[in-house]
Structure formats: C-alpha cells, structure tokens
C-alpha cells in the first residue's frame, strides 16, 4: 500500500540525499499526498522525541568508577600480563560487579576486534587547524570548560566578547529553530584569540568558533571522530561550527548564522 518512494522520502528527511535527488523528491511530494503526510509524521515523531526523551548523562559516580578502572588497567604490570597468559584469557580480575564475571570475559576481545576491523583503513586527517578545533571542542565538553559567560541573551554575550577577545561574531538565540544560545567563551586557535558561541541542540553541544580571517582559504568541511566541522567566511571573520549533532542540523544553524551576518552587514 505504501508509496514506492517512501524510503527515499525518509532519506530526504534525514538529510541523506544529494541536491538533485532532493529536488526530485520535493517534486514527487507535491503530487503525492501519502508522502506529504509521511513527511509531516516524520517531523512530528522527531519533535516529540527530541522534546521528551531524557537526555541522561553518565553520573559522576560512573565517571569516577571508570577512571579508577582505567587506572588499574593502564597500570597493569608486565607480570600481570604473563600471569594472564598462564591462566588463559578468561581471568578477569578487575570486574566491578560480580554479575559480569564470566559473562563478558571471553567474548569481548573478539567483539572489539570486530569493531576495530573496519576502522583501521581510515587515515587521520592532518590539517592542524582541524586538530586544534577538535581538541578545543573536546576541551569545552569537560565540566566547567564550556562557557565563560552564561547567557541566553545575545545582548549579554556580544559585549562580553568585546572585552575578552578581538573578535565580534554574530550572536543570536535560535531557540524556536531548536538551537538554544547557552553563552560564550574565549579560546585560542592558531595562537590567536577566538570567540566561541555555544549552542545547545537537543542532547548536543555546538561550538561556533570565530577568528579574524587573514585571507587564507579555509579547510573543506569534514567529519571526524563523530564530530562535524563546517567552515565559512562572513564579513572579515572566519567561522567553524563543530558538533556531534547531525550534519544537516549543523548546516541549518550555519545558514541561520550566515543570514544573520548578511543582515547585520546590510546585504
């Protein structure tokens, strides 16, 4: 009974099709009531899930426990290794809960091997700017590193940058569009000061870095380690938005910021 295009329509909704297919699918939906309904349903389900799903966080107790377990694991002496060889692989000595004893002992290593197998071929990207952006983004996710000035009001964030960086980026709250302004932060990129505007999108943090452009070209957009990097220029500033949110979601924030930048400059 379903329209034969329904999976493609879903792929379009998920931002998984190229521009040409997108146009085709939009044209199809104009004439297919079923697919129009489908698009509306997809949007409703997404909105309800993002509104209501519990964005649970790992508890401090779990973090502490993991950190302790890693200490023990990393400090495992050579002697320990030898003992393990003698006793065979199924000798987990550091389980936190007896429940897991045995359950995960033998199988895990091969599971990891399988998980690793198809990752080995991918090389690390060597652009130093992307490396810096990646580590600045990751640093920001550590507790207390995220925000210097906490505010959902751009009239607070923008003047704060004036006093703390040489950079005056576009700042706005886009809560209705799903991007909530959380605040701002000063950071260093390529040895110069940069302004970072922080947004929250569902369970995800988005850092929008900006720094004084020097006319050099920007790297191409890239995805790495589960993070997406989107670059653009606006006025005399270079921008990069970084997040593990979906790429199409990140692009919609970038478009909002680009439009705002163009309006600010009176274009």
């Amino acid at each position: 009974m379903r329209c034969a295009e329904s999976l493609r329509v879903q792929a379009y909704f998920d931002g998984e099709v190229d521009a040409v297919s997108a146009v085709e699918i939009e044209r199809h939906a104009e004439h297919c009531g079923e697919c129009r309904t489908l698009l509306k349903d997809l949007e409703q389900v997404r909105a309800a899930l993002r509104r209501s799903a519990a964005y649970a966080h790992a508890s401090p107790a779990l973090r502490t426990s993991i950190s302790r377990a890693l200490d023990q694991d990393g400090a495992a002496p050579v002697q320990d290794m030898r003992e393990r060889d003698i006793r065979g692989p199924a000798a987990p000595t550091r389980r936190i809960r007896p429940f897991w004893l045995g359950a995960l002992a033998g199988v895990g290593a091969s599971a990891v091997a399988v998980a690793c197998a198809f990752l080995l071929v991918l090389p690390r990207l060597g652009n130093p700017l992307i490396d810096e952006l990646a580590s600045a983004h990751v640093r920001s996710l550590m507790p207390a590193h995220l925000i210097d000035v906490v505010s959902t009001d751009r009239h607070t964030v923008k003047p704060w940058f004036a006093g703390h960086t040489d950079v005056s980026p576009v700042v706005a709250d886009f809560e209705p569009q799903g991007f909530r302004l959380m605040g701002g932060r000063a950071d260093y990129l390529d040895r110069q000061r940069s302004a970072v505007v922080v947004y929250q999108h569902g369970a995800h943090v988005i850092n929008v870095f900006s720094w004084a452009g020097d006319g050099r070209g920007l790297p191409a957009d890239v995805s790495r380690n589960g993070y997406h990097f989107v670059f653009w220029k606006s006025g005399n500033l270079d921008y990069c938005a970084v997040s593990d949110t979906a790429r199409d979601e990140l692009l919609s924030l970038v478009r909002l910021l680009q439009d705002l930048g163009a309006r600010d400059r009176g274009e």
């Binding site: 999976l7 792929a11 389900v45 519990a54 649970a56 966080h57 990752l119």
Partner: protein, 181 residues
C-alpha cells in the same frame, strides 16, 4: 598519565554521555547501563591501540552494543519496569543549563512518560536505530556501523519504528486535546 591514556580521555571519553544514553535505551535499568558502559569503556581502552582515526563515537557505541548483547545472552531478561521519576533524579543528569519553563514542565513530564513507555515497547533493533537517529543524530552510515547491519536495513528499521511510534502515539493520546500538534 601516559600518552595512550591521555589520548583515550581526549578522544573517547567525550562520548561517554552518548554511550550511557545508548546503554539506557538498550537495558532500561540504570544500574545495568552503568555496568555495560564501564565494561565497554575498558574494552575500548584495550582495543584503542588498534584504532587509527575514524569515527570514535560510532566505534564506542558499537562496543556498548556488543557488551550489552553478550550480557543479555548470558541471563534471563528481567521484567521491564518503566523508569520511575526517582530513578531519573538519581541516575539521569539533566542537560547543562537546560532550565525548563515550569508551566511546560508537567506537560512534558506526561509526554515523556507516555513516550518512554512507547519507546520501550518497540523491538530492541527498532528502538536502537530510532534513538541513534533522533537523539544521537547519527547518520545512516554511523548507525549501520553501530548496529552491524547494512544501510538498507537501517532505513527499513527506521521507517518501521517511526510508523509504529506514530501509530501507538495516536492510540495512546486519543481524546486528549493537546496530544498531537
């Protein structure tokens, strides 16, 4: 701290919350999720030397899934008990500076409870792809990597879980004026 540990903390631990959320959807029980995540992180650490570049988040979540299915096979499934509020308060940590408007709060709480029940009722392989897509916002390729199925399967599971959720949501909220906006 040695170099491997430092690199691991920088590249893998930022995805700990995602791993924890994923484990919560797999297990329903917060304490089990803690165990699975801890086990998965240790395994990830041991396998980390072999990892060069690539999608760390999808890699970590694939290990979480493997740890869960291993544990799951090893024991009888506990009867599912919907998460009570206290458990959320104890184990769930709200998003930083996400201060909801108090008026919205009770509506959201009702909606959340209904949705959690409906999500929990989905078959695990459907629930998994749905949450990876809508909450973790992973793309099809990443979801395929985490769940070890072809992209075509990801697409059909997504379609089915979304349709099922929508249909049950309509049933559940029939007669409530503010149900479907």
């Amino acid at each position: 701290m040695d170099e491997k540990r430092a690199r691991f903390e920088a590249e893998v631990l930022p995805h700990l919350d995602a791993a924890y959320r994923f484990a919560r959807w797999l297990t329903h029980a917060p304490a089990d999720a803690d165990d699975i995540v801890q086990e998965a992180v240790l395994r990830a650490f041991r396998g980390f030397d072999a990892l060069r570049g690539s999608d760390v988040k999808a890699w970590l979540l694939a290990i979480v899934r493997n740890c869960h299915s291993t544990a799951f096979r090893q024991r009888q499934r506990r009867a599912f008990v919907p998460l009570p509020e206290e458990n959320d308060a104890q184990y769930g940590y709200a998003m930083r500076s996400n201060i909801p408007d108090p008026q919205d709060e009770s509506i959201r709480r009702d909606e959340r409870r209904t949705l959690e029940k409906l999500i929990a009722a989905l078959p695990e392989e459907h629930r998994t792809v749905l949450m990876l897509r809508e909450i973790e916002e992973m793309d099809y390729r990443q979801i395929a990597q985490v769940t070890s199925v072809p992209i075509g399967t990801v697409m059909s599971r997504l379609a089915r879980s979304r349709a099922a959720l929508k249909a049950r949501w309509l049933l559940e909220t029939a007669g409530e004026p503010r149900a479907v906006r």
